[in-house]
């Protein structure tokens, strides 16, 4: 211990005595550790930190999934949820929720909030009790019962001034009277950023595929295990499949930790790749620092030899060098911690200010004691990795250094290790930069790609009409027509439309078979939407064949559809699709058959980063909906029209305020918001890796040049032209750079594929990205070589020969 303290003091002094070198190593390691710290913040918020509920490990998310994507559990209908509550009664208490838009009104007006409908037992399952009033009971939400509502703490404080008498007050909720029964605790925003909760009921008579669908949450009873729940669900599926073999043919059931509901398989995949990327950055930093330490240990070999002659054992010499690297790493951690904190703050801010569905509000991107401890441990590990190789190499054969007064200590095994480390650094930097390049290029592509619409001069919004009861379909159509007509009459408006879809962001999923195909024919999944007659013109859809919807397509006329070219190609084997009939959702009771009357250019209806799928549009008059998007094509700045749109909707539909009112270019930007964040992170990782590779290359070559100053002086004195000496130095460095780049390119492609393989619109083989990465890395490497080489050449040969 005494020896450790002594060496630690010595290491501190050595670090202080070499401020430039120490700063370089600390900077390099801090860059790597800051990335790790940042990633730990992200992982801690999304994966590691438990859900803010009692015994969170006993909470499960249950669901139904396609057999080929069993890790993406989907929602279930009323009947299945009731079945599960019965089937799993001894193993778990099963509940459900569904997110919804809630238009909350009182004398002060109507506002739209994110809300959720909960089965009456969900709060019991989560073990959450309202801070004021009561939670839902079984009678709430039952047919005939008075509607009840729970408010969030923030809504209660901000809109109702924390008035305790709110309990029992009647509010307008989705155009119906509802009694406030409780206020939830602060921080409760389940499932994401919800502010209002309604009681939902399960309809035992509902047919599978009809009605509402529930995300299922269960709490394990004492002694029960997730495996037992899974087995019980499988048994249920077998039984259900006997009664309904077609519906269950390609379906499976599953139970997963509830936290996975918020961090789906895709996100978990991205997190894994990001973690690998961060570890790569740290690896580059380690290789870099190890290389710098190695060169410094080489320069100190004679001192180490003297220490050995004075009685220091090899273990003591290794300890000395390790103390130095550990101390440097801890200094780096001291810089990385605030940087990581800033990163955490940034990502928290990005998600909080985003209008998109980010992670739930209870997920905090913050630094806590555990994270600091983990970062310090990572720093110590980094110090060990960084110091061990130089320590072991420099600690061996030190007596040779004392015997040889030669200055040519940079040759042999040391040089080989050093060169290997530089090659590794360049290769890893290349991998990271290629991945970042592919991500950035793909995301930038979204903004400029033709996905079937013209987003310029377009404003969009969503409106959710209240439930209107009997004959509501026709009323819904009429009310949306009333709004769009009024919008079209506004000055500066070129056209206005309504439709259930927002191309690139929102669409429904429909399974389709060609009419007349066998009942067991494979279903094709298409994105679909219902649109009015102005939708195509407003969004700028391009008609290629047939016609668009018009007044001929009434609610009682022949059901028709417009499809896109992807659809036409997918079903093109049996001839042109125009005029052909297709059955939509053939397995559901309300299936319909439509005739294709038009073909439009390729259009991406759902998320831009989803795989390209066929698109199918039907007239809104034939498939009315309560929720629709409004779109306004303006002559000028679309965002400037937003207040007027909100005003008009409020005037015409006081109970249904417009929300998500945004220019379409912003809509597209936000549609790829998550990917954009990831892409920015990768860009930062890549740039850090680039900086590290450049610093490493510079550091090692500067050392080599310094070691060779005398040799360079001799060569110059013997008449070697400057160009020749420069070429020899550059040549030596270029070989390392070349090998590193080749390796990096070979590894970059599979890594980029792993990263973006599951997203649409990214090309991991994009030649421009590879060319750019190669060019940038080669340029940076050349500069890192040239700077020390030119410095060596500027030295007078006579002075160089005197160089000690």
């Amino acid at each position: 211990m005494k020896a450790f303290a002594f060496e630690l003091r010595g290491a501190a002094r050595t670090i202080a005595a070499q401020p430039a070198f120490s700063a370089l190593v600390v900077g390099v390691l801090a860059a790597g550790l800051a990335c790790v710290m940042f990633m730990l913040v992200v992982l801690s918020a999304l994966v590691i930190r438990p859900l803010p509920f009692a015994q969170p490990e006993r909470l499960l998310h249950l669901g139904i999934a396609s057999s080929d994507r069993s890790d993406e559990l989907g929602d279930v209908g009323d009947r299945d949820l009731l079945d599960w509550q019965r089937q799993l009664a001894t193993l778990a208490e099963v509940s459900g929720f569904q997110q919804m838009t809630v238009n909350l009104g009182d004398a002060a007006g109507t506002e739209r909030y994110a809300g959720a409908q909960l089965t009456s037992n969900l709060l019991d399952v989560l073990k959450v009790v309202p801070q004021l009033g009561r939670g839902f009971v079984a009678a709430d939400g039952q047919p005939g019962a008075a509607p009840t509502v729970l408010l969030s703490d923030s809504l209660w404080r901000n809109r109702f001034n924390a008035d305790a008498s709110i309990i029992g007050r009647t509010l307008r909720v989705n155009a119906r009277d509802a009694i406030v029964i409780g206020v939830m605790p602060a921080q409760f925003s389940y499932p994401y950023k919800e502010k209002v909760w309604l009681a939902g009921s399960l309809d035992a008579s509902a047919t599978r595929g009809d009605g509402s669908e529930w995300a299922v949450v269960a709490r394990l009873r004492d002694g029960a295990t997730p495996a037992a729940v899974n087995a019980a669900l499988s048994a249920w599926r077998m039984e259900a499949a006997k009664a309904d073999p077609v519906a269950f043919e390609q379906l499976t059931t599953g139970a997963e930790p509830l936290s996975w509901l918020f961090i789906d398989a895709g996100t978990r995949g991205i997190l894994n790749v990001m973690l690998i990327a961060v570890l790569l950055v740290l690896l580059v930093a380690c290789a870099n620092a190890a290389n710098l330490m190695l060169t410094r240990a080489l320069a100190r070999r004679q001192e180490l030899a003297v220490r050995s002659a004075l009685g220091a054992s090899r273990a003591r010499l290794v300890l000395q060098l390790l103390c130095q690297s550990m101390l440097l790493s801890l200094l780096a951690a001291a810089i990385a911690l605030p940087l990581g904190w800033l990163g955490a703050h940034w990502v928290d801010l990005v998600f909080r200010t985003s209008e998109q569905d980010g992670p739930p509000t209870w997920m905090h991107f913050s630094v806590d004691a555990n994270l600091i401890l983990l970062t310090v441990l990572a720093a110590l590990g980094t110090g060990l990795i960084t110091g061990l190789l130089p320590a072991l190499r420099a600690g061996s054969g030190v007596n040779q250094a004392l015997r040889d007064d030669s200055r040519a200590v940079a040759g042999g095994a040391f040089a080989r290790i050093s060169r290997g480390l530089v090659i590794g650094e360049i290769a890893l930097s290349c991998v990271l930069l290629v991945s970042a390049g592919v991500m950035v290029r793909g995301i930038n592509g979204f903004a400029h790609n033709d996905f079937g619409i013209q987003p310029g001069h377009l404003l969009s919004a969503r409106v959710g009409l209240p439930e209107l009861g009997e004959g509501e379909g026709a009323q819904q159509v009429a009310r949306f027509e009333r709004i769009t007509e009024r919008l079209r009459n506004e000055p500066g408006v070129v056209d206005a439309a309504a439709g259930t879809t927002l191309p690139g962001l929102i669409a429904s999923g429909t399974r389709v078979i060609a009419d007349g195909a066998a009942t067991d024919a494979p279903r094709t999944f298409v994105y679909s939407g219902a649109i009015d007659d102005h939708f195509a013109a407003t969004f700028g859809l391009t008609l290629e064949q047939g016609r668009l919807f018009d007044s001929r397509d009434r609610a009682d006329s022949t059901p028709v559809a417009i499809v896109d070219r992807t659809f036409a190609e997918r079903f093109g084997d049996a001839g042109p699709v125009l005029g052909r009939r297709f059955t939509l959702d053939p397995d559901e009771s309300d299936h319909s058959t439509v005739t294709v009357v038009g073909v439009i250019a390729r259009t991406q209806l759902d998320d831009l980063d989803d795989p390209v799928r066929p698109a199918l549009l039907v007239p809104m008059r034939q498939q009315p909906a309560r929720f629709a998007s409004l779109a306004v094509r303006t002559a000028g700045d679309p965002e400037a029209f937003a207040p007027r749109l909100i005003e008009i909707v409020r005037e015409l539909e006081p109970d249904a305020p417009a929300y998500w009112v945004r220019g379409y270019e912003r809509v597209i930007a936000e549609a790829v918001f998550g990917l954009r964040v990831v892409s920015r992170m990768f860009t930062v990782f890549g740039l850090i890796a680039l900086f590290l590779a450049a610093a490493g290359l510079y550091g090692v070559l500067a050392f080599t040049v310094r070691e060779r100053t005398r040799e360079i002086g001799v060569r110059r004195a013997l008449g070697a032209p400057a160009g020749q000496v420069l070429a020899s130095l550059v040549g030596r460095g270029s070989v390392q750079v070349g090998i590193g780049l080749l390796l990096g390119l070979a590894l970059g492609w599979p890594f980029a594929r792993l990263l973006v393989g599951s997203f649409n619109g990214f090309d991991p083989t994009e030649p421009l990205v590879y060319a750019l990465v190669l060019g940038v890395l080669a340029l940076v490497a050349l500069l890192a070589i040239l700077v020390p080489a030119r410095r060596a050449l500027r030295i007078d040969p006579v002075i160089a020969l005197r160089h000690e």
Partner: protein, 231 residues
């Protein structure tokens, strides 16, 4: 009583065309308390011999007994232990540790030998006093003249009270008055009972020793075994 004995000691490097001999058939006996100079032209094997004697080079054939212990039978750890116990080094270029003060440079060999702190402090203070460098104790090597640095290096070499002091051209980098001071110091240490072997090119300083061993092409030319054995 002899402190060290070399018997048929040889050292060579393999070459494509045969072997390159560094030390040939060295037979040498040095008594406890002797002061011996090793001389010879460059390449004669002086430093190689000193490295072998100082247990820094283990790649040789023959027999080497140090204080009755057969060095060739020891493993590296035992050799280092023997080196720590018996040998002190003085180098031509002093090799003080730049980041350590004079006092800390003196303390370092004792640290490596796990000498208790109180005893270390006492021995360092004693030596600073004896070498009259108390006033320099907080200075760093770069703040000292060459002679002062070598003075500290000698103090550092003897602080562990070695039986054998090996000095590789101890005056080689010093001007004459500084060199004289170091030689006087060596005489003083010798008078106190330390055995000293110095490699030197300086004929006058060499002759101040009790015995001069001359090497030529790796062979002992003269002085390998002294007549009186006590120097």
């Amino acid at each position: 009583m002899s402190l060290l004995q070399l018997c048929n000691l040889e050292k060579s490097y393999p070459l494509a065309t045969g072997r390159s001999w560094v030390l040939r058939n060295i037979n040498m006996e040095i008594a406890e308390g002797a002061f011996v100079s090793v001389m010879g032209p460059s390449g004669a094997g002086k430093s190689s011999l000193l490295n072998v004697l100082g247990l820094m080079d283990h790649d040789w054939q023959g027999s080497y007994r140090l204080d009755g212990i057969a060095v060739e039978t020891l493993n590296p750890k035992q050799r280092q232990q023997l080196q720590r116990e018996k040998i002190g080094f003085i180098f031509q270029h002093y090799h003080l540790i730049d980041e350590l003060s004079v006092r800390e440079n003196l303390d370092l060999p004792l640290q490596y030998r796990d000498v208790p702190a109180r005893e270390r402090a006492a021995r360092v203070a004693d030596l600073l006093d004896r070498f009259q460098i108390v006033g320099k104790k907080d200075l760093y090597p770069a703040q000292l003249s060459g002679g002062q640095q070598q003075l500290v290096a000698v103090a550092r070499a003897v602080i562990t009270r070695p039986r054998l002091l090996l000095a590789d051209e101890p005056t080689g980098a010093l001007h004459s008055s500084q060199a004289r001071m170091i030689m006087d110091l060596l005489h003083q240490l010798h008078a106190e009972g330390t055995s000293i072997i110095q490699v030197t090119h300086n004929e006058a300083f060499a002759n101040e020793a009790q015995r001069v061993i001359r090497l030529q092409d790796g062979w002992v030319e003269t002085g390998g075994v002294s007549s009186g054995q006590t120097g």
